[in-house]
Each structure stands twice: as structure tokens, then as C-alpha cells.
Assembly symmetry: C2
Homo-oligomer: 298 residues x 2
Amino acid sequence: MSDSADPIHAELIAVVVAVTDATPRVLTLLDGSALPAGPLESAHRSLQAGLRDRVERQTGHPLGHVEQLYTFADAGRSRAGRSISISYLALSSETRARLGGQVSWQDWYRYFPWEDRRTANDAASRIEPGLRSWVGTEPTRRARIARCFGLDGTPWQEDLALDRYELLYEAGLVREAARDGRPAHGEFAPGATLAADHRRILATAISRLRARLRARPAVFELMPERFSLLELQHCIESVSGQKLHKQNFRRLIEGQNLLEETGDFANGPGRPAKLFRFRSAIRDERAMTGSRPPLATP
Amino acid sequence: MSDSADPIHAELIAVVVAVTDATPRVLTLLDGSALPAGPLESAHRSLQAGLRDRVERQTGHPLGHVEQLYTFADAGRSRAGRSISISYLALSSETRARLGGQVSWQDWYRYFPWEDRRTANDAASRIEPGLRSWVGTEPTRRARIARCFGLDGTPWQEDLALDRYELLYEAGLVREAARDGRPAHGEFAPGATLAADHRRILATAISRLRARLRARPAVFELMPERFSLLELQHCIESVSGQKLHKQNFRRLIEGQNLLEETGDFANGPGRPAKLFRFRSAIRDERAMTGSRPPLATP
DNA sequence: CATGATATGCTCATTTCGAGCATAAGGATG
DNA sequence: CATCCTTATGCTCGAAATGAGCATATCATG
């Protein structure tokens, strides 16, 4: 409509995810303390193109499927005017290239220990005292905690990862909150931090991915070309942070008609497993979504 | 990370939705041909604050709940460098203020006639020939159409509004496609257009809202303080574009424990209906989400 | 007071979901 | 080769959720 906007800077931030050894990993810089990020340059054809270029130059890792997460502005942090950050989620099937110096893949549960509920885990119990102290007598806080952490009969919902992080932030139970000047309420929650608000962005990515998995376990971007059902199950379990019932998972997959047999089998200990691939129609389907055609340039 | 980004402009675009008379309406400018939009200015504390300010000045309508939709860049349309558009969805309970000159509320189905399936409607059948012509012999196109429009046994999914619009765009069946230089494949689909890509943004808003409704019919932002179950049902039907079974809807609502009785009744023709309100815990819950706390400004 | 309209309660068949039992088929080991 | 361990795969069964419809309650109105 109008063209009189004040000039600003735009920054692109990427959450690049891959699953290996039943562990979801995220691509990081500086030995696991920041996400790949960089400014949008005028040479870039589109936001996505800019992101791809940036990440590849910074990490040497080429991106596959990319989708947008969230855009936020910091309120004039630098004297040069405000800057806008646009965050993206990229799914990638494995480490395809040699990584540079301080570039590395990090288990994402390193930053969110309480999100991994595949095995018994004391992260949740270590958070509880702090939460209790923050609740005080506020009933609305109590209800919110119950929803986020699955207490008082509420079931645990894996896709509330972002809500949980934001609650911990508000409660002053993560280091970022203290850094931003919020009062603390006890011992910090376990888990490593990331630069700026990158940990929040990672939480957004986890939530998004988990919500998508809940609807449809079509994460072929994270899987190799051919795989057994158990491998697919382990991948999904690792992302959603929860164990699944093997037979029911199988039934679910069959019902969705996502896969087709390759005819080959995987050998290992035990009976050989049929190898599957995603049906091509499913791959095409997603290829459309997520990458919106840019506006024409008249 | 870096501060060396090229300067750009940022534009904020709002989809403001309200439901009155069982019709979802969207706030427009220029007699229904554009969405409220305006540049982000340095005076604005945050993106949301900027949006609120903009929309209120442009339309006189104050915004309630606001959430982000999508961010996109046009590839250097204006000589002054590129600009980024950040779109938002705002839910509002009714027209609370006098609107300015060409500002008006428009039935959103005016722009998407094929999305309203509450009553028999020839919009879908008028689109079909064009789609058929575009399909040609491509099997992947056929599958995509089936998914989007619920053909070949696939059920209609109301929250695919954006996918349907994008498909029509690619098929050259909406005027925006022709404007952008894409080849046509027959008669245009019925429905009014909007400026630039505002119609795509509106489709994004519809999809988002419908997806949310599917999970949880908690749209108190769209409802008056007190309402009957049938009124709530009509609101949800109008947004999702589909009729619901009255008794089952009632059962669903009870199961969710979203509402509480006010003790009052609505009189009209027929047996008086209990009036409900949303439980305050539910309102609080959403108040948290959607508006992320801004980064601290050190 | 009959009628039309809406509200609300209840039933019933179908489907989906969660959990577990049972069998199949490989390798390793004696 | 027989046994055992391991993983794959098929099937069952009850609980819960869903879709569709019948029946009754309670108002306004002619």
C-alpha cells in the first residue's frame, strides 16, 4: 500500500534438523551455542533463497525442504535501527557434507531435556520445585502449568514444547530469562542455552514438527530413501519424544497408505524387515506446499 | 549474528475477522478491494503494536487478539529496494466503532465462494472444467486436485483453503494468476479479487482459523460475552464452511469443558436456550499464547 | 389449546484407539 | 541340528470416540 516505511535490517535464522541414531539433531555454530543466521542481502531472489545461501556458506550443509516458522522484531537493539528476524525450519536427511570449524550437529534434547520422555528422565522432576515456587497462589498459573506439563490428569501433549519453554521463561527458570532481567524462582531448569532467543526458535521448530507428525507421520525429508517400519517408528519417536506401540504404529501407517514396499529386506538380528519407501504421490504433495511461488516481478 | 544487512522496508498486513449473522467478515479498504496494511515505523514498540496502530488509524477499528500468519518478500518490486510483508490475523467480536469512508466488512466467501459448503452451491462445479483442462494427463496434478477438493473418495478438508487457492493460482484459474502472467485454463473461478496478494493472505487466515477450530472450538474472540449453544454452532459452521450435527456438537462442547452456564436464558421462538460463557481459565490460556513477550532491550 | 419452533437428552451402530497375545523367521550357540 | 534370542508381523478384544437419528421438553403464537 504505502512505500514510506523506515529502513530496517532483516535477519534469517535457520533450524536445520536431521535424525540419526534415533536422535533429532540440530545444526549449530560456535560449538553448539547458536543457530545459523545471517542478513538478507539484496542479491537474494527470495527469503528462502537467502536462507539457503546463508546456511550453505556458513555451514557447508545444503538445505532440502524449508518452511517458515516465525518472524519477530527486536525493539531497536542496535543503534542502527531495528532489525527483523525471520526464522525457518529445514529438514534434511543426513549430514551430506563436511562441516566447517565450529559447526556441529547437536542433540536437540541437550537444550530441552524435559522434552524427551522416551525413557525415565529426571528433568521434569528437577523443574518442579521452581514451578511450584512460581505458582504461588495464582490459580491461573496452576492451570497453565497443568496444561503444559500434563499434571492434574491433563495428558502430556508433545507439541506444546514452545508453550513449555515460554512458561519456563516467564517463571524465570531458564537462563535467558535471568539474562533479560527477569526474577528467578529457584534453580534453573536443566539444559544448555543458545545465543539470543535461538532457544525459543528451536522450541518453535520442535512444536511445529511435532504437531505435523501428530497429523501425519510423513517425514520423508528426515528418512533415508529406504527404511524399515521400525526405523520410521524410531525416527518419529525421537522427534515427538514419546514411545509408540509398535503394532498400532504399523496399523496407523498402513491405514494412511503412505508407503510402498521396495521388495528388499533389511538383515540384522531377528527376522528380516521389509524395506519401504514413501509413495511418490506423497512426496510430490509436500513439494508443492511450504514453498510458495514468489510474487511476479513486473 | 551479523549487522550488515541491506536496508529494506517492512509492511504489516492485517486480516481482521468478525462473525455476525452467521457470516464471517473481513475488514477491508477501498470498498472491499484491499486489506488494511501499512509500513512498520520506528516509533512502533513491536510488530504487533505497529499493526494495531496502523489498523486503528486506517479503519478506526481497535484490534483484540492478534496472531502472526506469514512473512514474505516481494523480489524487489520497487526501485527503492525490497520490501518484506508480515501478515497477521486478528479476531474481533464485532464492529465496535464507526468505520471510515471506504472501510467496510465483507463476507469472506465473497472472495472464496467455493469455500462455503453449508448450502448447495455451484461454485465448485463452475471451477471443475478449468481444473480438468489443467490436469491434462499429469497424474500428480490429478492426485493433488483430489486432495484439495475432496474428489475420488477423498473427504473435503475445510482447512485446505490455502492449498485450494494456490492450486487455482497455479492452474491460472484466478485473476491474480493472469495478472502475474500465468497462462489461463478456461473460465476464471467465481469470486472477487483483492489487491496484490491479499487474497492469498486471506486464504492463509481462513486455513489457520479452520485448523484451529478443528482442534478446539474456542473462538471466544469471535463471540459475544454470552451466547447460546446454537449461536456458537452457527459461528463455527460459518467459519469452517460446513454444517454440523446439532446434538453431536453439543456433546463435543460438553466434553471439552470450555463453557459455563450463566444461569440466564435466551428467549425467541421455541424453547428458551441456556446462555453460556467461556470459562475464564480458557480465556486466560489463550491470552498467554500468540503474543510472545518481546526481547528485552538492554 | 393446537402448532410450530427450538432446546436438550438418549440410543445405537460404526469406527478408531490402546493394549496385549501369538506366530514367523532370521542369526547365534551348544 | 535343536535351542534360544531377537525382531517382524498378524490378529483379537475391550474401551472410547464418532456419526446419525429418535424422543421429549418448553417456549411463543394464532
